[in-house]
Symmetry: C3
Protein backbone atom coordinates (compact mmCIF):
# COMPACT_ATOMS: atom_id res chain seq x y z
CA UNK A 1 0.00 0.00 0.00
CA UNK A 2 3.00 2.23 0.61
CA UNK A 3 1.97 5.83 1.32
CA UNK A 4 -1.33 5.58 -0.53
CA UNK A 5 -3.56 5.91 2.55
CA UNK A 6 -1.69 9.05 3.64
CA UNK A 7 -2.01 10.57 0.17
CA UNK A 8 -5.67 9.58 -0.11
CA UNK A 9 -6.47 11.19 3.25
CA UNK A 10 -4.78 14.44 2.20
CA UNK A 11 -6.32 14.56 -1.28
CA UNK A 12 -9.68 12.86 -0.73
CA UNK A 13 -8.78 10.39 -3.48
CA UNK A 14 -10.86 7.48 -4.70
CA UNK A 15 -9.09 4.11 -4.86
CA UNK A 16 -9.70 2.18 -8.07
CA UNK A 17 -8.89 -1.43 -7.24
CA UNK A 18 -9.87 -5.04 -7.62
CA UNK A 19 -12.94 -5.78 -5.53
CA UNK A 20 -11.33 -7.24 -2.39
CA UNK A 21 -8.76 -4.45 -2.11
CA UNK A 22 -11.41 -1.81 -2.78
CA UNK A 23 -13.52 -3.20 0.08
CA UNK A 24 -10.44 -3.13 2.31
CA UNK A 25 -10.08 0.59 1.55
CA UNK A 26 -13.80 1.26 2.07
CA UNK A 27 -13.68 -0.56 5.44
CA UNK A 28 -10.98 1.93 6.47
CA UNK A 29 -13.10 4.95 5.56
CA UNK A 30 -11.80 5.66 2.06
CA UNK A 31 -13.67 6.05 -1.20
CA UNK A 32 -13.16 3.30 -3.75
CA UNK A 33 -14.44 2.09 -7.08
CA UNK A 34 -14.57 -1.72 -7.06
CA UNK A 35 -13.55 -3.49 -10.28
CA UNK A 36 -11.87 -6.73 -11.29
CA UNK A 37 -9.52 -8.30 -13.80
CA UNK A 38 -10.62 -7.90 -17.39
CA UNK A 39 -13.17 -5.26 -16.44
CA UNK A 40 -13.00 -1.69 -17.70
CA UNK A 41 -14.77 1.49 -16.62
CA UNK A 42 -14.80 5.07 -17.91
CA UNK A 43 -13.91 7.67 -15.29
CA UNK A 44 -13.77 11.48 -15.63
CA UNK A 45 -10.01 11.30 -16.34
CA UNK A 46 -10.08 8.33 -18.73
CA UNK A 47 -10.73 4.60 -18.93
CA UNK A 48 -9.20 2.02 -16.59
CA UNK A 49 -9.12 -1.68 -17.43
CA UNK A 50 -7.58 -4.21 -15.09
CA UNK A 51 -5.23 -6.81 -16.57
CA UNK A 52 -3.91 -10.18 -15.47
CA UNK A 53 -0.73 -10.22 -13.37
CA UNK A 54 1.04 -13.24 -11.91
CA UNK A 55 2.31 -12.24 -8.48
CA UNK A 56 0.82 -12.12 -4.95
CA UNK A 57 -1.19 -9.63 -2.96
CA UNK A 58 -1.35 -9.13 0.77
CA UNK A 59 -1.78 -6.09 3.04
CA UNK A 60 0.69 -5.12 5.77
CA UNK A 61 -1.85 -6.45 8.31
CA UNK A 62 -1.79 -9.83 6.59
CA UNK A 63 -5.05 -9.83 4.67
CA UNK A 64 -5.77 -11.31 1.27
CA UNK A 65 -7.11 -8.55 -0.95
CA UNK A 66 -7.80 -10.28 -4.24
CA UNK A 67 -5.60 -11.29 -7.12
CA UNK A 68 -2.78 -8.99 -8.21
CA UNK A 69 -3.44 -6.93 -11.33
CA UNK A 70 -1.96 -4.54 -13.82
CA UNK A 71 -4.00 -2.00 -15.76
CA UNK A 72 -4.45 -0.18 -19.03
CA UNK A 73 -5.13 3.50 -18.62
CA UNK A 74 -6.65 5.16 -21.68
CA UNK A 75 -6.40 8.95 -21.82
CA UNK A 76 -6.96 10.98 -24.99
CA UNK A 77 -6.81 7.83 -27.13
CA UNK A 78 -3.42 6.84 -25.73
CA UNK A 79 -3.12 3.45 -24.01
CA UNK A 80 -0.71 3.19 -21.11
CA UNK A 81 -0.09 -0.38 -19.99
CA UNK A 82 1.23 -0.70 -16.46
CA UNK A 83 1.91 -4.42 -16.06
CA UNK A 84 2.17 -4.30 -12.27
CA UNK A 85 4.67 -6.54 -10.52
CA UNK A 86 4.40 -9.72 -12.54
CA UNK A 87 6.14 -12.57 -14.25
CA UNK A 88 6.02 -12.90 -18.02
CA UNK A 89 2.82 -14.41 -19.41
CA UNK A 90 1.47 -15.12 -22.85
CA UNK A 91 -1.76 -13.17 -22.35
CA UNK A 92 0.36 -10.01 -22.68
CA UNK A 93 0.27 -10.71 -26.41
CA UNK A 94 -3.53 -10.73 -26.30
CA UNK A 95 -3.56 -7.52 -24.23
CA UNK A 96 -1.43 -5.83 -26.90
CA UNK A 97 -3.69 -7.10 -29.68
CA UNK A 98 -6.90 -5.95 -27.99
CA UNK A 99 -5.41 -2.58 -27.00
CA UNK A 100 -2.56 -1.18 -29.12
CA UNK A 101 -0.20 0.08 -26.43
CA UNK A 102 1.47 3.48 -26.67
CA UNK A 103 3.41 3.38 -23.42
CA UNK A 104 4.32 0.33 -21.37
CA UNK A 105 5.90 0.12 -17.93
CA UNK A 106 7.54 -3.24 -17.34
CA UNK A 107 9.52 -4.69 -14.40
CA UNK A 108 13.10 -5.82 -15.08
CA UNK A 109 14.50 -6.48 -11.58
CA UNK A 110 14.15 -10.30 -11.48
CA UNK A 111 13.73 -12.27 -8.21
CA UNK A 112 10.24 -10.84 -7.51
CA UNK A 113 9.24 -10.18 -11.13
CA UNK A 114 10.46 -10.62 -14.67
CA UNK A 115 14.14 -10.11 -15.26
CA UNK A 116 15.56 -8.57 -18.43
CA UNK A 117 15.25 -11.60 -20.79
CA UNK A 118 11.57 -12.10 -19.92
CA UNK A 119 10.90 -8.35 -20.06
CA UNK A 120 12.31 -8.28 -23.59
CA UNK A 121 9.92 -11.09 -24.52
CA UNK A 122 7.08 -9.15 -22.87
CA UNK A 123 7.64 -6.11 -25.04
CA UNK A 124 7.88 -8.30 -28.13
CA UNK A 125 4.42 -9.62 -27.20
CA UNK A 126 2.92 -6.18 -26.47
CA UNK A 127 4.84 -4.13 -29.03
CA UNK A 128 4.47 -0.72 -27.35
CA UNK A 129 5.56 2.54 -29.00
CA UNK A 130 7.67 3.31 -25.92
CA UNK A 131 8.69 1.18 -22.96
CA UNK A 132 9.87 2.40 -19.56
CA UNK A 133 11.61 -0.16 -17.31
CA UNK A 134 10.69 -0.22 -13.62
CA UNK A 135 11.08 -2.22 -10.42
CA UNK A 136 14.88 -2.52 -10.31
CA UNK A 137 17.83 -1.37 -8.15
CA UNK A 138 15.65 -0.69 -5.09
CA UNK A 139 17.42 -3.50 -3.18
CA UNK A 140 20.49 -5.54 -4.13
CA UNK A 141 18.33 -8.58 -4.91
CA UNK A 142 16.65 -6.73 -7.77
CA UNK A 143 19.74 -5.08 -9.22
CA UNK A 144 19.45 -4.81 -12.99
CA UNK A 145 20.97 -2.54 -15.63
CA UNK A 146 18.21 -0.53 -17.33
CA UNK A 147 20.60 0.39 -20.15
CA UNK A 148 21.16 -3.29 -20.93
CA UNK A 149 17.36 -3.58 -21.20
CA UNK A 150 17.18 -0.42 -23.32
CA UNK A 151 19.77 -1.79 -25.74
CA UNK A 152 17.90 -5.07 -26.10
CA UNK A 153 14.54 -3.34 -26.49
CA UNK A 154 15.94 -1.13 -29.23
CA UNK A 155 17.45 -4.21 -30.85
CA UNK A 156 13.84 -5.40 -31.19
CA UNK A 157 12.83 -2.06 -32.72
CA UNK A 158 11.08 -0.77 -29.59
CA UNK A 159 11.86 2.67 -28.17
CA UNK A 160 12.93 2.70 -24.54
CA UNK A 161 13.28 5.54 -22.08
CA UNK A 162 15.16 5.05 -18.81
CA UNK A 163 13.88 7.45 -16.13
CA UNK A 164 15.99 8.74 -13.28
CA UNK A 165 14.63 8.74 -9.75
CA UNK A 166 12.07 11.56 -9.52
CA UNK A 167 12.24 12.34 -13.24
CA UNK A 168 8.96 13.14 -15.02
CA UNK A 169 7.95 12.39 -18.56
CA UNK A 170 5.15 13.87 -20.69
CA UNK A 171 3.47 11.06 -22.58
CA UNK B 1 -21.85 -17.46 -1.61
CA UNK B 2 -25.26 -15.90 -2.08
CA UNK B 3 -28.06 -18.17 -0.88
CA UNK B 4 -26.08 -21.37 -1.37
CA UNK B 5 -25.81 -22.27 2.32
CA UNK B 6 -29.58 -21.86 2.76
CA UNK B 7 -30.27 -24.05 -0.25
CA UNK B 8 -27.70 -26.65 0.81
CA UNK B 9 -29.24 -26.88 4.28
CA UNK B 10 -32.71 -27.40 2.81
CA UNK B 11 -31.61 -29.92 0.15
CA UNK B 12 -28.67 -31.65 1.85
CA UNK B 13 -26.51 -30.72 -1.16
CA UNK B 14 -22.85 -31.45 -1.64
CA UNK B 15 -20.66 -28.47 -2.57
CA UNK B 16 -18.23 -29.15 -5.41
CA UNK B 17 -15.54 -26.50 -5.07
CA UNK B 18 -11.86 -25.70 -5.20
CA UNK B 19 -10.11 -27.13 -2.14
CA UNK B 20 -10.02 -24.06 0.11
CA UNK B 21 -13.67 -23.18 -0.47
CA UNK B 22 -14.70 -26.83 0.00
CA UNK B 23 -12.94 -26.88 3.37
CA UNK B 24 -14.70 -23.66 4.30
CA UNK B 25 -18.03 -25.39 3.60
CA UNK B 26 -17.02 -28.54 5.50
CA UNK B 27 -15.96 -26.42 8.50
CA UNK B 28 -19.52 -25.04 8.54
CA UNK B 29 -21.08 -28.51 8.62
CA UNK B 30 -21.78 -29.00 4.93
CA UNK B 31 -20.81 -31.83 2.62
CA UNK B 32 -18.26 -31.00 -0.06
CA UNK B 33 -16.13 -32.61 -2.73
CA UNK B 34 -12.73 -30.89 -2.81
CA UNK B 35 -11.17 -30.33 -6.24
CA UNK B 36 -8.94 -27.79 -7.93
CA UNK B 37 -8.26 -26.00 -11.19
CA UNK B 38 -7.60 -28.33 -14.10
CA UNK B 39 -8.90 -31.32 -12.16
CA UNK B 40 -11.95 -33.29 -13.26
CA UNK B 41 -14.08 -35.88 -11.47
CA UNK B 42 -17.03 -38.04 -12.52
CA UNK B 43 -20.09 -37.65 -10.31
CA UNK B 44 -23.45 -39.47 -10.54
CA UNK B 45 -24.90 -36.57 -12.57
CA UNK B 46 -21.92 -36.05 -14.90
CA UNK B 47 -18.32 -34.86 -14.99
CA UNK B 48 -17.08 -31.60 -13.50
CA UNK B 49 -13.74 -30.07 -14.44
CA UNK B 50 -12.55 -26.81 -12.94
CA UNK B 51 -11.12 -24.19 -15.29
CA UNK B 52 -8.91 -21.14 -14.90
CA UNK B 53 -10.63 -17.82 -14.13
CA UNK B 54 -8.99 -14.46 -13.55
CA UNK B 55 -10.92 -12.72 -10.81
CA UNK B 56 -10.85 -12.78 -6.97
CA UNK B 57 -12.43 -14.89 -4.28
CA UNK B 58 -13.34 -13.98 -0.74
CA UNK B 59 -16.14 -14.99 1.64
CA UNK B 60 -18.53 -12.50 3.29
CA UNK B 61 -16.57 -13.05 6.54
CA UNK B 62 -13.38 -11.99 4.79
CA UNK B 63 -11.61 -15.27 4.21
CA UNK B 64 -9.49 -16.34 1.26
CA UNK B 65 -10.99 -19.51 -0.18
CA UNK B 66 -8.67 -20.38 -3.05
CA UNK B 67 -8.37 -19.11 -6.57
CA UNK B 68 -11.51 -18.29 -8.54
CA UNK B 69 -12.58 -20.87 -11.09
CA UNK B 70 -14.99 -21.67 -13.87
CA UNK B 71 -16.03 -25.18 -14.80
CA UNK B 72 -16.95 -27.54 -17.59
CA UNK B 73 -19.94 -29.72 -16.82
CA UNK B 74 -20.27 -32.77 -19.02
CA UNK B 75 -23.69 -34.42 -19.10
CA UNK B 76 -24.76 -36.93 -21.75
CA UNK B 77 -21.75 -36.06 -23.91
CA UNK B 78 -22.61 -32.36 -23.91
CA UNK B 79 -20.02 -29.91 -22.56
CA UNK B 80 -21.33 -26.83 -20.78
CA UNK B 81 -18.60 -24.26 -20.11
CA UNK B 82 -19.45 -21.82 -17.35
CA UNK B 83 -16.53 -19.36 -17.37
CA UNK B 84 -17.29 -17.92 -13.95
CA UNK B 85 -16.71 -14.23 -13.34
CA UNK B 86 -13.50 -13.62 -15.24
CA UNK B 87 -11.56 -11.44 -17.60
CA UNK B 88 -10.65 -12.70 -21.06
CA UNK B 89 -7.68 -15.04 -21.23
CA UNK B 90 -5.95 -16.99 -23.94
CA UNK B 91 -6.26 -20.37 -22.22
CA UNK B 92 -9.95 -20.26 -23.17
CA UNK B 93 -8.76 -21.29 -26.63
CA UNK B 94 -7.05 -24.31 -25.12
CA UNK B 95 -10.15 -25.15 -23.06
CA UNK B 96 -12.22 -25.13 -26.25
CA UNK B 97 -9.68 -27.31 -28.04
CA UNK B 98 -9.47 -29.88 -25.23
CA UNK B 99 -13.26 -29.94 -24.73
CA UNK B 100 -15.47 -29.03 -27.69
CA UNK B 101 -18.04 -26.77 -26.03
CA UNK B 102 -21.76 -27.13 -26.74
CA UNK B 103 -23.01 -24.39 -24.44
CA UNK B 104 -21.04 -21.50 -23.00
CA UNK B 105 -22.06 -18.94 -20.40
CA UNK B 106 -19.94 -15.81 -20.61
CA UNK B 107 -19.99 -12.51 -18.68
CA UNK B 108 -20.52 -9.31 -20.68
CA UNK B 109 -21.08 -6.65 -17.96
CA UNK B 110 -17.58 -5.10 -17.91
CA UNK B 111 -16.12 -3.37 -14.81
CA UNK B 112 -15.90 -6.63 -12.79
CA UNK B 113 -15.50 -9.00 -15.75
CA UNK B 114 -15.15 -9.03 -19.51
CA UNK B 115 -17.19 -6.49 -21.40
CA UNK B 116 -18.74 -7.15 -24.80
CA UNK B 117 -15.60 -6.79 -27.00
CA UNK B 118 -13.60 -9.23 -24.85
CA UNK B 119 -16.58 -11.60 -24.57
CA UNK B 120 -16.79 -11.71 -28.38
CA UNK B 121 -13.09 -12.62 -28.46
CA UNK B 122 -13.73 -15.28 -25.79
CA UNK B 123 -16.36 -17.02 -27.90
CA UNK B 124 -14.09 -16.85 -30.94
CA UNK B 125 -11.50 -18.72 -28.84
CA UNK B 126 -13.95 -21.28 -27.46
CA UNK B 127 -16.26 -21.59 -30.48
CA UNK B 128 -19.32 -22.94 -28.64
CA UNK B 129 -22.43 -24.16 -30.44
CA UNK B 130 -24.53 -21.77 -28.35
CA UNK B 131 -23.54 -18.90 -26.07
CA UNK B 132 -25.64 -17.35 -23.30
CA UNK B 133 -24.49 -13.96 -21.97
CA UNK B 134 -24.56 -13.41 -18.21
CA UNK B 135 -23.45 -11.04 -15.46
CA UNK B 136 -24.92 -7.78 -16.77
CA UNK B 137 -27.57 -5.18 -15.82
CA UNK B 138 -27.63 -6.23 -12.14
CA UNK B 139 -26.24 -2.82 -11.15
CA UNK B 140 -25.70 0.33 -13.25
CA UNK B 141 -21.93 -0.26 -13.28
CA UNK B 142 -22.39 -3.48 -15.25
CA UNK B 143 -25.04 -2.25 -17.67
CA UNK B 144 -24.58 -3.92 -21.04
CA UNK B 145 -26.89 -4.67 -23.96
CA UNK B 146 -27.16 -8.46 -24.43
CA UNK B 147 -28.66 -7.91 -27.91
CA UNK B 148 -25.56 -5.99 -28.99
CA UNK B 149 -23.55 -9.02 -27.84
CA UNK B 150 -25.95 -11.39 -29.62
CA UNK B 151 -25.56 -9.49 -32.86
CA UNK B 152 -21.77 -9.56 -32.64
CA UNK B 153 -21.71 -13.25 -31.69
CA UNK B 154 -23.90 -14.11 -34.67
CA UNK B 155 -21.63 -11.98 -36.85
CA UNK B 156 -18.89 -14.46 -35.90
CA UNK B 157 -21.18 -17.38 -36.79
CA UNK B 158 -21.95 -18.33 -33.18
CA UNK B 159 -25.54 -18.84 -32.02
CA UNK B 160 -26.56 -16.74 -29.03
CA UNK B 161 -29.59 -16.96 -26.78
CA UNK B 162 -30.49 -14.08 -24.45
CA UNK B 163 -32.40 -15.33 -21.41
CA UNK B 164 -34.90 -13.24 -19.49
CA UNK B 165 -34.79 -13.14 -15.71
CA UNK B 166 -36.14 -16.47 -14.43
CA UNK B 167 -36.36 -17.98 -17.92
CA UNK B 168 -35.34 -21.62 -18.32
CA UNK B 169 -33.71 -23.31 -21.26
CA UNK B 170 -33.44 -27.00 -22.12
CA UNK B 171 -29.93 -27.71 -23.36
CA UNK C 1 3.61 -27.46 4.32
CA UNK C 2 3.86 -31.13 5.25
CA UNK C 3 6.95 -31.89 7.31
CA UNK C 4 8.94 -28.96 5.98
CA UNK C 5 9.06 -27.04 9.27
CA UNK C 6 10.34 -30.14 11.10
CA UNK C 7 13.03 -30.70 8.47
CA UNK C 8 14.00 -27.03 8.39
CA UNK C 9 14.39 -26.96 12.18
CA UNK C 10 16.63 -30.03 12.10
CA UNK C 11 18.74 -28.85 9.13
CA UNK C 12 18.70 -25.07 9.53
CA UNK C 13 17.32 -24.80 5.98
CA UNK C 14 16.36 -21.65 4.13
CA UNK C 15 12.89 -21.61 2.57
CA UNK C 16 12.81 -20.29 -0.98
CA UNK C 17 9.20 -19.26 -1.57
CA UNK C 18 6.85 -16.70 -3.02
CA UNK C 19 6.87 -13.57 -0.90
CA UNK C 20 3.80 -14.16 1.28
CA UNK C 21 4.78 -17.73 2.14
CA UNK C 22 8.38 -16.68 2.80
CA UNK C 23 7.13 -14.05 5.27
CA UNK C 24 4.96 -16.70 6.91
CA UNK C 25 8.10 -18.82 7.45
CA UNK C 26 10.13 -15.85 8.70
CA UNK C 27 7.36 -14.96 11.17
CA UNK C 28 7.75 -18.48 12.62
CA UNK C 29 11.50 -18.08 13.12
CA UNK C 30 12.78 -19.69 9.91
CA UNK C 31 15.16 -18.36 7.31
CA UNK C 32 13.68 -17.60 3.91
CA UNK C 33 14.51 -16.05 0.58
CA UNK C 34 11.48 -14.12 -0.69
CA UNK C 35 10.77 -14.30 -4.43
CA UNK C 36 7.76 -14.27 -6.72
CA UNK C 37 6.36 -15.70 -9.93
CA UNK C 38 8.52 -15.06 -12.98
CA UNK C 39 11.46 -14.04 -10.82
CA UNK C 40 14.75 -15.94 -10.76
CA UNK C 41 17.72 -15.85 -8.43
CA UNK C 42 21.11 -17.56 -8.39
CA UNK C 43 21.83 -19.47 -5.17
CA UNK C 44 24.98 -21.42 -4.23
CA UNK C 45 23.40 -24.68 -5.47
CA UNK C 46 21.91 -23.30 -8.69
CA UNK C 47 19.27 -20.97 -10.07
CA UNK C 48 15.61 -20.98 -9.02
CA UNK C 49 12.89 -19.34 -11.07
CA UNK C 50 9.26 -19.41 -9.99
CA UNK C 51 6.66 -20.28 -12.60
CA UNK C 52 2.91 -19.81 -12.94
CA UNK C 53 0.67 -22.51 -11.46
CA UNK C 54 -3.13 -22.57 -11.41
CA UNK C 55 -4.17 -24.02 -8.07
CA UNK C 56 -4.70 -22.62 -4.53
CA UNK C 57 -2.52 -21.96 -1.54
CA UNK C 58 -3.43 -21.92 2.13
CA UNK C 59 -1.63 -22.87 5.32
CA UNK C 60 -2.98 -25.41 7.85
CA UNK C 61 -3.85 -22.44 10.09
CA UNK C 62 -5.98 -20.97 7.34
CA UNK C 63 -3.79 -18.17 6.02
CA UNK C 64 -3.40 -16.97 2.45
CA UNK C 65 0.28 -17.19 1.55
CA UNK C 66 0.41 -15.89 -1.99
CA UNK C 67 -0.31 -17.46 -5.32
CA UNK C 68 0.67 -21.08 -5.95
CA UNK C 69 3.79 -21.60 -8.05
CA UNK C 70 6.00 -24.12 -9.74
CA UNK C 71 9.68 -23.62 -10.37
CA UNK C 72 12.58 -24.21 -12.71
CA UNK C 73 15.73 -25.35 -10.97
CA UNK C 74 18.90 -24.92 -13.01
CA UNK C 75 21.89 -26.95 -11.88
CA UNK C 76 24.96 -27.54 -14.05
CA UNK C 77 23.15 -26.24 -17.14
CA UNK C 78 20.29 -28.70 -16.67
CA UNK C 79 16.77 -27.30 -16.28
CA UNK C 80 14.38 -29.19 -14.02
CA UNK C 81 10.80 -27.98 -14.31
CA UNK C 82 8.62 -28.87 -11.33
CA UNK C 83 5.17 -27.68 -12.35
CA UNK C 84 3.73 -27.80 -8.83
CA UNK C 85 0.15 -28.87 -8.34
CA UNK C 86 -1.57 -27.22 -11.26
CA UNK C 87 -4.03 -27.47 -14.08
CA UNK C 88 -2.84 -27.33 -17.68
CA UNK C 89 -2.10 -23.86 -19.02
CA UNK C 90 -0.79 -22.49 -22.27
CA UNK C 91 2.09 -20.54 -20.67
CA UNK C 92 3.80 -23.92 -20.19
CA UNK C 93 4.65 -23.65 -23.88
CA UNK C 94 6.34 -20.31 -23.24
CA UNK C 95 8.17 -21.71 -20.20
CA UNK C 96 9.56 -24.50 -22.40
CA UNK C 97 10.59 -22.02 -25.08
CA UNK C 98 12.35 -19.67 -22.66
CA UNK C 99 14.04 -22.54 -20.79
CA UNK C 100 14.68 -25.79 -22.69
CA UNK C 101 13.61 -28.36 -20.11
CA UNK C 102 15.71 -31.45 -19.41
CA UNK C 103 13.54 -32.98 -16.70
CA UNK C 104 9.89 -32.26 -15.98
CA UNK C 105 7.72 -33.39 -13.10
CA UNK C 106 4.04 -33.24 -13.94
CA UNK C 107 0.88 -34.18 -12.00
CA UNK C 108 -1.41 -36.80 -13.55
CA UNK C 109 -3.87 -37.59 -10.72
CA UNK C 110 -6.82 -35.49 -11.90
CA UNK C 111 -9.46 -34.04 -9.49
CA UNK C 112 -6.99 -31.62 -7.82
CA UNK C 113 -4.66 -31.18 -10.80
CA UNK C 114 -4.24 -32.19 -14.43
CA UNK C 115 -5.28 -35.69 -15.33
CA UNK C 116 -3.51 -37.80 -17.95
CA UNK C 117 -4.93 -36.18 -21.14
CA UNK C 118 -4.00 -32.68 -19.97
CA UNK C 119 -0.60 -33.87 -18.70
CA UNK C 120 0.12 -35.29 -22.17
CA UNK C 121 -0.74 -31.88 -23.65
CA UNK C 122 1.50 -30.24 -21.03
CA UNK C 123 4.53 -32.25 -22.08
CA UNK C 124 3.80 -31.55 -25.74
CA UNK C 125 3.96 -27.85 -24.83
CA UNK C 126 7.14 -28.13 -22.75
CA UNK C 127 8.89 -30.90 -24.70
CA UNK C 128 11.20 -32.11 -21.90
CA UNK C 129 13.94 -34.68 -22.47
CA UNK C 130 12.48 -36.80 -19.66
CA UNK C 131 9.19 -36.57 -17.81
CA UNK C 132 8.38 -38.05 -14.39
CA UNK C 133 4.68 -38.27 -13.46
CA UNK C 134 3.68 -37.30 -9.92
CA UNK C 135 0.69 -36.56 -7.69
CA UNK C 136 -1.32 -39.76 -8.23
CA UNK C 137 -2.53 -42.83 -6.26
CA UNK C 138 -2.12 -41.12 -2.87
CA UNK C 139 -5.91 -41.25 -2.32
CA UNK C 140 -8.60 -43.01 -4.36
CA UNK C 141 -9.79 -39.68 -5.80
CA UNK C 142 -6.45 -39.21 -7.59
CA UNK C 143 -6.00 -42.76 -8.80
CA UNK C 144 -4.24 -42.79 -12.17
CA UNK C 145 -2.13 -45.29 -14.06
CA UNK C 146 1.39 -43.89 -14.54
CA UNK C 147 2.10 -46.54 -17.18
CA UNK C 148 -0.84 -45.31 -19.26
CA UNK C 149 0.74 -41.85 -19.06
CA UNK C 150 4.18 -43.27 -19.91
CA UNK C 151 2.78 -45.00 -23.00
CA UNK C 152 1.10 -41.79 -24.19
CA UNK C 153 4.19 -39.69 -23.48
CA UNK C 154 6.37 -42.07 -25.47
CA UNK C 155 3.77 -41.98 -28.25
CA UNK C 156 4.59 -38.26 -28.47
CA UNK C 157 8.32 -39.03 -28.57
CA UNK C 158 8.98 -37.99 -24.97
CA UNK C 159 10.87 -40.26 -22.58
CA UNK C 160 9.08 -41.06 -19.35
CA UNK C 161 10.31 -42.63 -16.15
CA UNK C 162 7.84 -43.92 -13.55
CA UNK C 163 9.38 -43.83 -10.06
CA UNK C 164 8.39 -46.18 -7.27
CA UNK C 165 7.70 -44.83 -3.81
CA UNK C 166 11.06 -43.92 -2.24
CA UNK C 167 12.99 -44.58 -5.45
CA UNK C 168 15.77 -42.14 -6.34
CA UNK C 169 16.95 -41.05 -9.75
CA UNK C 170 20.21 -39.39 -10.80
CA UNK C 171 19.41 -36.64 -13.29
Amino acid sequence: MGDSFKIAKRCGSTFICVNELANYCIDRGFKAHNMHIGGGHVFSFGRVKFTIAHHGSKTPDNQYVGEPAGFILTIKNKNIYYTGDTGLFYDMKLIGEMHPVDFMLVPIGDNFTMGIPDAVKAIEFVNPKLVIPMHYNTWPVINADPYEFKKKAEGKGINCRVLNFGEEIEL
